[in-house]
Amino acid sequence: MNDPVGSVGQRLADAQVDLFYEKYPAVAKDSADVMKYILDCSNSLKQNETSPLLSNYVDDIRLGAQVLQIISKYLNLGK
């Protein structure tokens, strides 16, 4: 899964910090990175037989990351 532990967790932490410092373009980049890692993970899960529960969890994160992407888009429109 291309080290999703460090990637997704780290990007979410980065997004939190960037949001605090009002670096909205960076928040958009962080959320796009989260989405990329999650899509990689999701594709990997489809190729390999694994827990359906894990697939559901990953899909939930994908949908949440999409919401974050939309919000960060509106944040950048306000700049």
């Binding site: 979410l12 827990s51 949908l63 999409q66 509106y74 306000g78």
Partner: protein, 150 residues
């Protein structure tokens, strides 16, 4: 927000007169404020509008307008509000999106984008922690199964 602030400012100027602002917010010497008071009293007696034709008063009011515009502009950016329905219209799963945002304690109505983003990141972090724990437990289970096969 910006229009409201400008309207409020114009209303304040009309109500209290520019003189009040300049004498309160800028250190005007005592003679000057005495003069202002005496002029105001005489004007009030006559029922007229107070106008002090000094450059300082004009510049200070311009400065105040500029200051208020800056504050209003910065506030309008930091407290931008977008309706949850507008956001979720763009999501592939609209019900999931509105479930997430409306699960915010206190509701999501009228909440600014920064707080919505903060809440979404918190939810994602929480989901990610659960996913990570599940991955770790699956890996352990797989390792145990492999050992048992040997």
């Amino acid at each position: 927000m910006l229009t409201e602030t400008i309207n409020i400012f114009i209303h304040i100027i009309n109500s209290y007169q520019i003189v009040t602002f300049s004498s309160t917010y800028f250190s005007v010497n005592k003679n000057y404020s005495i003069n202002i008071k005496s002029i105001r009293k005489s004007q009030e007696r006559k029922g007229g509008i107070i106008r002090i034709p000094t450059k300082m008063t004009q510049y200070s009011s311009l400065f105040l307008v500029f200051l208020i515009l800056c504050v209003a502009f910065s506030n309008s950016i930091s407290t931008k509000v977008v309706d949850v329905d507008v956001i979720c219209k763009e999501a592939s799963n609209q019900s999931y999106c509105s479930n997430i945002l409306n699960s915010k304690p206190g509701g999501a109505k009228g909440v600014d984008l920064v707080h919505l983003a903060q809440y979404t990141i918190d939810v994602l972090n929480n989901n990610w922690t659960h996913t990570y724990d599940l991955i770790i437990s699956l890996v352990k289970r797989a390792e145990n199964a492999t050992v048992a096969n040997y």
